[in-house]
Each structure stands twice: as structure tokens, then as C-alpha cells.
Symmetry: none
């Protein structure tokens, strides 16, 4: 590897500070985690967006959540074709190896990936339609959700499509045989959330009303 | 969607506590983030492992790092075949849309995904060789790294293979034309780290010695 | 300009060292900063004192804080009289152009400017009362704070007056219409800190107790 | 004061890290600084811009530089009218109390304040002409510099005006009697620098050629 650079100095400084305080104060817990492995109670699937800190929102400790983050927090449909399916691998590992009790899919406001999908599907971003666009091909997963809200006028589809992203992911999760089996055996529950970054509000998908409701 | 459940009560409680304290005290910052978008300086690629909190290690604030997390923090080679490549989409978005200045790949000790790769490649986990194993097919990405350390005896390949995972990801990053171009234009730097969870230590890949060195 | 001299050699040497190391390793970040502008999350108002390095205390990177430094870190009251108000200009730029989410005012122990104010107000430094004394006229801003602690005996007013400097600045900040509006719209928060240089301790103004409390 | 909020948690964490490492390792030096006062060798006048870290460029230690930072790093002309002149106070304190040996004025590329002056003087930002604009009134200081480069075409005045800001400040410094006296007694030297943020380059004003030359 001929392209790696040293870590920027301010990150070295911050790491040294963490080592001398947080790590030092919690060394027993870190060692226990190293010696006894992880036993997370839940898997969280969220966006890569730098503004989404689910560990902060949920007061999470090291060892508590198995966290997968990708563009828009999407889960593709079950497709065992032998390819490198990163998201499917995380779900398989969480459910079959770690045996998590919950999978929480969380979307958020102002999501750039979802905005890209809206632009692509409504004809405003032809470059995302190209085969070579990884973001475009990834956001294809959300097309079924776009179809369901495409009747909404321009400028009003944002949060609706962000919530569809959560629902599409939950639906796709159920296409994985090991997920369906765990859910049907009542060993796993699925949860859908949407977070408004600016307002700090959290809504969850509510089955009885088939809508997102404030928590 | 007919399978979503309400969020467990203890998470509702923690969220309510966060909303009343952290959010309330930092509302201005959350609103600024919502109104002005994200401007993360770096992308971090790490494992989903529940014991890896890079935001804690680096004293990160909301808005600072664009974070992708998958099994073992792997990046596959460039493959614009029109499929749903989640990891490739995150890299494309970070480099071409967000124009991050750094991509930091961080591996860790006791990595279950890397252990699976070792078992698979050394013949101890034939089930991971099956076409239907998403974890197995994902860990295929690390095979070139396994070949480089396969001469090591059983029980001694762990940290070596975890570090190979970082190097393979860095090498694969350079196969993406937009990554290579940004690196060659000196608009992007790549960094490789490995964290020992129990000891809280951090090592970084050092080009001159072609080895990981303690920070 | 007929009075500029070449930079002292030791500073040229240090700059050359920085250019060959820190800059070289972080060129991508500096270019990103140049190309995409600054998006600082906070404004810091501190003293010019050479012993105050808030970037060190807060592990700050280039691009993170918009920093104004003047004698004692004072903010004068709002006074739109058409004069050259340097501090007011920094606050206006931070709040209305950069839209920072926080303004952090930080005072410190052993502050020479605050000592001058104490001497001036207690009759020990008549020269500071002269119209021609820029330091005296600047420290006039702190007089309302001196009045509040003038009952303390000689030799005990130091840290109390340094903390009053922080409070007077916070109060004056609220006299700027654009600051008040941003605070009331919950788009901006104000913070008051005091740093003991020798002990490395940090105290923050706590509203409930109306006092500075250790962090 | 009824508007102060607690410091954001990530800054508390970083401070605690600094206290446990940098402070702990250098306690003797911090105590010496507290007990024996500051003896900075130079005053630096720079911009508030978050991208300008002169302490980094010059490898500065605590105690080394007395640093004043305002919009564009400007010094107004000598004007002992009894008003609150923050910048004049810093210069007076540095020269008459601290007796620094150097005053270094440093400007930089992509300066928002200088850009504002250019827009104002060329008719593109009428709002900056209003009496109530603190930024506009502050940038009036640079008008004599604008006059000298106003013949340059639009889009080419940027770096030239940034360098004029340095020269105007040096010229204004010489209007302060205590500065002129110290310079003429060879107890003080003035220096003018300009830093290109993206390229990391540094130029200094060179008297013989009456131009900025690379260091």
C-alpha cells in the first residue's frame, strides 16, 4: 500500500486524551468486551450522515448495538446470487450469529441520499441513472417507495420518501428467510424510526395507523 | 408493512432523556446542522462491531465524520456492473459529493468477520463457502489478504489478518477512479488504523516501514 | 511601507518545518478548506494572552472555531455609531454571515488586562484613566463588573473580576439585536468559561446557581 | 446573566482529555507561566478565520506569542478619542507593557472580510455601506488599500487586496507614537506576511522590491 498517510495531529491528540480518560476509567469494561466478545441486544441500520449519532440519542454504551451504516440506511431485497452484498452480510451476521433481539431501521430528515433518489426518479438527475453511478444504483432500492409517494407535488416529497426508505427496508428485511423465521418465532422484532435532525424529534412506524407517529 | 413493533420502553426512556438534556442544550447546533447541511471533514469506514465507537475515541461531534460501517470495515474492488453496491455508493458519495479530505479505514481486535474469513480460508468453516452465505461472500473480499499471511500458524493469524483487512480496503479504494484521481490531485488522503479493544491502543499503517506502528 | 523587516530566521525555520511535515501530510484538508470555505461551528472570544491556547484545550482542527482575541476577551455594548468597532464586527460576521451555533467567551487567571481594570477602578493606576490610554478606555467596558465585586478586599478581587469580565461580555452580547434574535430563535447559544492557567482547570458559568462551577 | 448554556459534551470530553495528557505532561510549564507571567517575544495580528492557525504554522508554545485576532487582521489609525478601541488597546499593551520585540501582521487567501470590502467599495454590497453595518465600518479601514488596487479587473483583486490589508495595518501601526518610537529606537520590528491556505505557502513584504516575496 503506497498511499497511506499518518493520522492528522489533532486526531492523535484527541485519541491520546480518550486513552487517558475514558479508556482509563473504563478499562475493566473494555477488557471484558475483548475477552468475552460482543453480545449486542439490537442491530441498528442507519445512514452514514455525519449528523446522525444514534449512540448519542440512545445513550449507548460500547457493546450495546451492532450498527450498520450505509447511504440512507437501506436494505436491499434478499438476493443470494454469490455477489458481495455488504448489507445482507451484516443482517445475516446479526441475526444468525449474534442473535440480536431487535433490528431498528432509522431514517432522518434532510437525507442527501433520499434527495438523490427523488431527483433521479423525477427526472432531475439523469447522471444518477447511469450504470456507473454507484449512488444511483444503490438508491434504486428505494424506487418502490418513490412510486408510492410520486403523486405528491415537488418539494413535498422529502420526509415522505425518507419514511418510505424505512418501510422499504423493513419490507426487504422480511424477504430474508432467516429474518422471517426469527420474526415468526418471536425471537426478533423489527422497528422503524425517523429522526428530525433540527427538531430532535423521533417518530416510529405504527402498524395500527399505518403511519409514523411521534414518540 | 405488517411486522413493525413499538420501540422498547427503555430506548424510549433514553431518547426522552436525551431530548430533554443533550438536545435541549445543543438545539442551536442541531438546527444549524439541519439548515446548513453536513460538511464532514473525513469519512470513516469501520466495522459494525458494537464495541467500536470511533466517535468516542476521536471526541467527535455531530457533523464531523461521515461514517460507513459494515462487516470488518471492508471495501470491495471497483466494479461498476450496475448492481447494488452499498459500500461503493458510500465512497462515491463521500468523495464526489461531500468532497471529504480524508478516508480513515479502521480495523479492530477480536473481529468476528475476520475470524470467519480465517476459518473459511483454512477449511474450518465450509458453510461459509456456500453461494448462499452472505457473510462468506462478503469476506471473499479479504482473500488476497489471507493469502499474504496464510503461512502463519493457526492461532497467530488473527491480528495479522485484521490488519490485512485494512490494507486490502485501502488497496481497493485506490481502484476507484474518483478516489485515485482525488488522491493524486492531493485533495484526499487515505489512512489505515487498527484498534485493540481491550488495551485501547491504536496502531496506524506506516508506509516507510510497511507495517502498523503504535500511535 | 518603509519599516517592514524580514521574518526572524527561527520563525522561517519553523515555517519550513511545518510546510514539509504538517502541511504535507494534511494538504488535502488545507485545499478542501481553501476550496469550500470555512464552516466553523462556534465562535470563541478569548484574551490575547500568550498563555491561552483554546485550540489546544479543545483539540481543535483548522476550520473548527472562528476565534476573536482581544484584551481580556471583552465584548462592548451594542453601539451602531458608525465607528470602527472591531469586536462588534467579529460578532456580526460570526452570527449573521457564518451563522455559528455557539459563542464561547473564555476568561483566564492572572489576566493582565483585568488586573489593570482593578488597579484603575481602585485608584492605583491613574494613568489608565487618561483619555489617551487605549487600554484604560477598553477596560472601561468592565466597570459594571467591577462595581459588583468592589466590596471584596484588595488582593481577593482577581479571579472574581476575571469571571465578571466573562459575564459582562455575555450580557453585552445580548444587547446586539442579531445576537438576541438568534438566541431567542434557539439558533445560537452562549457559554461562559474561566480557565486557571497554572492548574489547567476549567469552570463554566452555571445559570441555576448563578456561579462558575468546575467542569 | 440568564442565557448561558452548559458547554457541549464533546468539548467537555476533549477538555478532560487535554487535562489528562497535555496539561499533565506540561504542568511545570503551565505553573511557571502562571507564577511568572507572560513574556511573549512577539505580537501576532491575524484574522479570526477558523482556517488560520498561526500557532501551528510557527510551532508556537504557550507563552510565546501575544495574539490579537479580528476581521481581516486590520489595525485602525491612531485615534485617541476616548472610545473603546479594542485593537489599539492590544497594540498599546503589547508594546508598552509587554515590550514585544516584533509585531507580525499576517493576512491570508480567501479572506471573507477582505472580499466584503471589495464588494462594498466596488458597489456590489450596498448594505455594507450602512452606518449600522459593523463589518462595513470595520472594513472602511482598508479603503486606502482598495484605492491602490481598484484599477485591477473584477476577479483579480482578491490576493492583491488581502496584501494591501497587511500594508495598511503596518502603515497604521506607525501612526501610533509608542510604536514609532519603539521602532525608531530599534526595540521593535514590524513584519508583514500573507498565507495561502490551500497551498500552505507564506509570502512576506519585502521593502527593497516593495512587494510580497515567497519565504
Amino acid at each position: 500500500m503506497d498511499q497511506a498517510k499518518p493520522l492528522p495531529g489533532y486526531l492523535v491528540g484527541r485519541y491520546n486524551g480518550w486513552k487517558a480518560t475514558t479508556y482509563q476509567d473504563n478499562k475493566a469494561w473494555y477488557r471484558r468486551l475483548a475477552n468475552h466478545g460482543q453480545h449486542p441486544r439490537a442491530m441498528i441500520i442507519s445512514c452514514c450522515d455525519s449528523r446522525q449519532h444514534v449512540t448519542s440519542i440512545f445513550g449507548a454504551d460500547e457493546g450495546e448495538f451492532f450498527i450498520h451504516r450505509n447511504i440512507a440506511g437501506l436494505v436491499p431485497p434478499y438476493s443470494p446470487d454469490g455477489g458481495n452484498h455488504g448489507t445482507s452480510a451484516t443482517v445475516e451476521y446479526a441475526v444468525t450469529a449474534l442473535k440480536v433481539a431487535h433490528i431498528i431501521v432509522i431514517g432522518h430528515s434532510n437525507c442527501g441520499g433520499v434527495k438523490g433518489c427523488d431527483d433521479m426518479c423525477s427526472g432531475k438527475a439523469p447522471q444518477l441513472l447511469e450504470k456507473s453511478s454507484f449512488v444511483g444504483r444503490w438508491m434504486d432500492i428505494l424506487r418502490p417507495g418513490y412510486e408510492r409517494i410520486s403523486h405528491l407535488p415537488d418539494g413535498e416529497r422529502g420526509p415522505a420518501l425518507e419514511k418510505q426508505a424505512v418501510l422499504v427496508s423493513l419490507e426487504n428485511l422480511m424477504t430474508f428467510p432467516f429474518v422471517r423465521e426469527a420474526v415468526e418465532s418471536e425471537l426478533l422484532t423489527l422497528h422503524g424510526l425517523w429522526n428530525d435532525i433540527g427538531e430532535g424529534s423521533l417518530e416510529q412506524y405504527d402498524m395500527p395507523t399505518d403511519a409514523f407517529q411521534p414518540i
